[in-house]
């Protein structure tokens, strides 16, 4: 019964968060001082150079009608909600009309999921492992060395790091490609190898920059846990250090890291904006960037809504799972 009540409250919160998030995503782009039709016309006239004002006016009217931007904002809002809730459709992209936004997201999503899931989990594993060792065996030279590397890399802005990787491995020592060109199609080794080859540097840049924070946070928590009474008691009992680390320290410091990992996984639907742009990676980050640059309302709404739902969903799942992970928390 208590669980049922808890579940209902969490579902209500989940739905409310999504409603507020999606509504915000609808209105915020419309408050910006730009207009997708004007952006498109601006580009066309700056390229064509010779379009008469009459032509521009005719095109403006036609595009407003085509994109469904000629009604009131409330009318557009209701249409949008109806479309998203009933048919799970964000409409056509305005900058790549008439391609449906869902199709663009479906094309970009596997790239983003592949890159971000892999790099998030790997940097979490590597970072926490090093942090655990650095905190538990802080006097060992290897621990100090690994921690030093993490501390050194953590403050480097990730775009600088990505640029340096490009500089060294695509230009000075041209091992990896400068441009993102995937060869082959379908499920075969040429295609898979090409994907791995193209994704290696973006992944490396995300892992190297991402694992520093995990090292630092884990090391701090392990150092604190090391001073706890129950750890001291375990040592006095003569337990092996490895057992103390695995059974006494790790379970107590892992909870916040698991929570953060879950939240980061929720956030991977945002893509890795700068990394994607620098490496020409065809993920969701690039789509969001394109949507904002072109004032493509539907594309912005589609990509951000996916992100809002994924973060809300992850938080919802964590809320439900936490009592199972942490015995101190109960549904009551």
């Amino acid at each position: 019964m208590k669980f049922g009540k808890f579940l209902l409250s969490r579902i209500a919160t989940f739905l409310l968060v999504i409603f507020i998030g999606v509504t915000t995503v609808f209105f915020v782009p419309r408050l910006m001082p730009n207009d997708p039709v004007e952006a498109m016309i601006g580009q066309m006239t700056s390229n064509a150079g010779s379009m008469s004002p009459e032509a521009v006016e005719q095109m403006r009217e036609s595009m407003n009608s085509l994109f469904g931007l000629d009604g009131s904002v409330m009318h557009q809002y209701l249409d949008f909600f109806k479309r998203v809730v009933i048919s799970h459709d964000f409409g056509p992209s305005l900058s790549a009309y008439p391609t449906p936004v869902m199709q663009m997201i479906a094309r970009a999503l596997p790239w983003t999921l592949g890159l971000m899931l892999t790099t998030t989990v790997l940097s979490w594993l590597i970072g926490n492992l090093i942090g655990l060792l650095a905190g538990f065996r802080k006097d060992k030279p290897l621990s100090k060395f690994l921690e030093g590397i993490a501390i050194l890399m953590y403050p480097i802005p990730y775009y600088i790091f990505a640029l340096l990787l490009i500089m060294f491995f695509c230009y000075l020592l041209p091992v990896f490609p400068l441009s993102f060109v995937v060869q082959g199609e379908g499920f075969n080794w040429v295609h898979i190898k090409s994907i791995l080859w193209n994704c290696f540097l973006p992944a490396l840049s995300l892992i190297l920059v991402g694992f520093g924070w995990w090292v630092i946070s884990m090391k701090t928590m392990v150092s604190n846990a090391n001073e706890e009474e129950y750890v001291k008691f375990a040592r006095l009992k003569g337990l092996h250090e490895g057992r103390i680390m695995r059974r006494y320290v790790m379970p107590n410091v892992m909870l916040p890291q698991v929570t953060n990992l879950a939240l980061q996984i929720g956030g991977i639907f945002n893509g890795a904006l700068v990394t994607e742009i620098l490496f020409g990676f065809p993920g969701l980050g690039s789509l969001i960037y394109q949507g904002i640059l072109q004032s493509d309302y539907n594309l912005i709404m589609g990509t951000i809504t996916i992100s809002v739902i994924s973060v809300a969903l992850t938080t919802f799942v964590i809320d439900l799972l936490y009592p199972f992970l942490d015995p101190r928390i109960r549904y009551s």
Binding site: M32, N34, D35, P36, E38, A39, M40, I41, G42, Q43, S46, G49, S50, S52, P53, E54, A55, V56, Q58, M59, R60, S62, M63, L66, S93, L94, S95, A96, Y97, P98, T99, M104, Y159, I160, L163, L164, I166, M167, C170, Y171, L172, P174, V175, F176, P177, L178, S179, F180, V181, V182, Q183, I277, L278, F279, G280, P282, S286, I292, L293, S295
Partner: protein
């Protein structure tokens, strides 16, 4: 903050690129990993073609969102400059940019009036051209295209088309009769290329008549040009074109001969830094716009790289839109001609040029770009008038020595290989510009109630005068830098000037809605002497109140005399001697009123790398301008040769 970040990024890149030189650099031995070696020993591109047979071209518009959509009339279709209009979709009439005239492409002649109403015309099509599937190109295709443009509501450009063209009818296989909605004496300017390209693309009737034009993506487009689309990247980063076996039945084949490269690969490499690295590594043959700093690096790192001129200034100043500062003439202070002139005279144009592009710019005092062709037609002939032009009080603002002074300034900066003769100096730096005269500028402001307090100019209301200059962010680097240079100049003069960078969408919306005081826009364009199509936007009938999207006259400048001249220009045939006279009168009005400050011909750094291909156009071999993103590109392919 954002700008600082970009500066750090740029500095880091430049430093790393330069540092790489210390270690031997990327040099010619490193061909890049995107190229592999075939069993024959030939280098292969990463799309599987022999490198020596492939011309690799930078893709201006970047990644294409939907690489399967080639319907040229669908709003939001794949950008034309990824090779489509350069290689596949010829226009009826093309442009010869060096001579500043239109030429015939798919059409064999220019429209000939059928009566004196100027609404009925006849033109003929070039014979011997076929679509890439072998079907003959005929007047039926033109009529069909015209019909679907008029009847398909989803085609945004079609909505304009049907307001201009009533019908096109195929009289026989090669003859088209066209009826216009309203009289127009030069329809070829609306339906043919005068700058960049034209939206009227003829479609193959035998393919399209079976499809719904509103939804048909035309994924496998047919070509009337010498190449066909062979492969594309599913992510939209590259498009590979292959020479047609029957290239002699394409427009270029019929007009000009055989294109040399077997393959043309339009490819997007990413940021400018990556594009330059690719050029250093010989992974790209033709680069779109880069900054002068990037050119300096490329020049040093790859001896095969070359720009328009072999020595200073390297860039070509023939872009058809000159750069300058637009005023919103409906706003309080900028509606005043004296204020606009004061701001013009308060700038040291030489310093602005140095700060913008290291002094590699051609001055333009007139509202017409100083291209090679238009300099001869307008800039040079009007130099004498500019020297005598005076304000009502007799003050003569023109400085005919600006170009010479620029050369002297560059000498002090250690720049070598500068022009020496008057003619060379004029050709490179222009006919002159306005004086840097802060005293006169101050006089003009004081006359209008402005005052100076502690070096800062105050408005007639006694408030500190602040100017915001809108500038492009992350695109159009020259205008972006120009805005900062002008802000520095005005700040030095005592006006608090601030640059506000905007992404392209916001930048254009601000312009159209009049949500700006001043902006680094490019209001004066032109390529052929008949400027009707470019200058007509200044007609006062297009003025709308601030807040409303204006289709033309975004400076909101009203001038009856100018509007009357535009009306007159629209009635003149392109080769009527009255055209040049009328344009000259208009240019004089622009000088006198200064509704926007023309400053520089746009200098384009659009280098090529001659490791694999040679014979590109340059100042020594100017068969055309280096407009890689324009529709005329396919005509260049017959001139270039494989490097030995």
């Amino acid at each position: 903050m954002r700008r600082k970040g970009k500066q750090i990024l740029a500095a880091a890149t430049a430093a790393a690129l330069l540092l790489s030189g210390c270690g031997g650099g990327a040099g010619e031995s490193k061909e890049g990993t995107s190229e592999q070696t075939a069993a024959s020993g030939d280098k292969m591109t990463d799309v599987g073609t022999p490198r020596k047979d492939t011309l690799i071209v930078d893709m201006l518009s970047g990644t294409q969102t939907d690489p399967d959509n080639f319907n040229p009339y669908m709003t939001g279709c794949v950008a034309m400059d990824c090779g489509l209009h350069q290689l596949l979709y010829p226009c009826l009439w093309e442009a010869d940019t060096m001579n500043g005239e239109q030429t015939c492409d798919l059409a064999a002649d220019f429209p000939e009036a059928m009566d004196d109403t100027n609404t009925k015309y006849r033109f003929h099509l070039r014979e011997g051209i076929t679509w890439s599937d072998g079907v003959e190109f005929t007047a039926e295709d033109v009529e069909f295209t015209s019909d679907i443009l008029s009847s398909t509501e989803e085609f945004s450009w079609g909505s304009w088309y049907k307001s201009f063209v009533k019908s096109m009818k195929a009289v026989d296989k090669y003859t088209v009769e066209m009826e216009l909605v309203e009289p127009n004496v030069k329809p070829q300017q609306k339906l043919g290329v005068i700058v960049f390209g034209n939206n009227f693309k003829v479609l193959p009737k035998h393919i399209w008549e079976k499809e719904d034009p509103a939804t048909f993506k035309y994924t496998d487009p047919l070509s009337l040009g010498p190449y066909t689309l062979s492969k594309r990247d599913a992510q939209g980063n590259w498009f590979l074109y292959e020479k047609r076996e029957d290239w002699d039945k394409s427009d270029v084949g019929v007009i000009d001969g055989e294109p040399k490269p077997q393959y043309v690969l339009f490819k997007y490499f990413g940021s400018e830094e990556k594009r330059v690295m690719a050029a250093v590594n010989n992974e790209i043959d033709i680069l779109q716009d880069i900054s002068p700093e990037s050119w300096d690096i490329l020049k040093e790192k790859n001896p095969n790289a070359k720009c328009w001129t072999e020595e200073f200034p390297y860039a070509i100043p023939d872009d058809p839109c000159e750069r300058g500062i637009s005023f919103n003439c409906s706003n309080e202070y900028y509606s005043n001609r004296d204020v606009r002139w004061a701001l013009t005279l308060s700038m040291d144009i030489k310093q602005v040029s140095m700060a913008t592009f290291g002094g590699k710019l051609k001055f333009s005092p007139l509202a017409v770009p100083p291209t090679t062709a238009l300099t001869d037609v307008y800039q040079k002939p009007m130099a004498e008038w500019l020297k005598t032009y005076a304000f009502e009080d007799g003050y003569k603002p023109f400085n005919e020595n600006t170009a010479k002074e620029m050369v002297e300034l560059l000498k002090t900066e250690g720049v070598e290989n500068l022009p020496t003769t008057d003619e060379e100096i004029t050709d490179i730096f222009g006919i002159g510009w306005w004086k840097y005269d802060t005293d006169k500028a101050a006089e003009l402001l004081q006359k209008n109630g402005f005052t100076q307090k502690d070096g800062q100019w105050m408005t007639p209301e006694g408030e500190p005068w602040e100017i915001i200059i809108l500038a492009p962010a992350d695109f159009e680097i020259e205008s972006m830098r120009l805005a900062f240079a002008v802000a520095d100049a005005w700040s030095k003069f005592g006006v608090k000037a601030e640059v506000k960078q905007q992404d392209s969408s916001t930048f254009w919306t601000s312009y159209a809605t009049g949500n700006y005081d001043t902006g680094a826009y490019w209001p004066f364009c032109g390529l052929i002497p008949d400027l009707t199509e470019n200058i007509q936007t200044w007609h006062e009938k297009y003025i709308l109140p601030n807040g409303e999207n204006a289709a033309g006259n975004k400076e909101r400048y009203a001038n009856e005399e100018l509007s009357a001249a535009i009306d007159k220009l629209q009635t003149l045939e392109p080769d009527d001697p009255e055209v040049n006279k009328t344009v000259e009168e208009m240019l004089k009005i622009f000088v006198d009123e200064m509704p926007a400050i023309p400053m520089f011909g746009t200098a384009k750094f659009v280098p090529v790398v001659e490791t694999y291909w040679t014979g590109f156009q340059d100042s020594e071999n100017p068969f055309e301008g280096p407009w890689w993103w324009w529709s005329q590109f396919r005509f260049y392919t017959t001139k270039i040769e494989a490097a030995k």
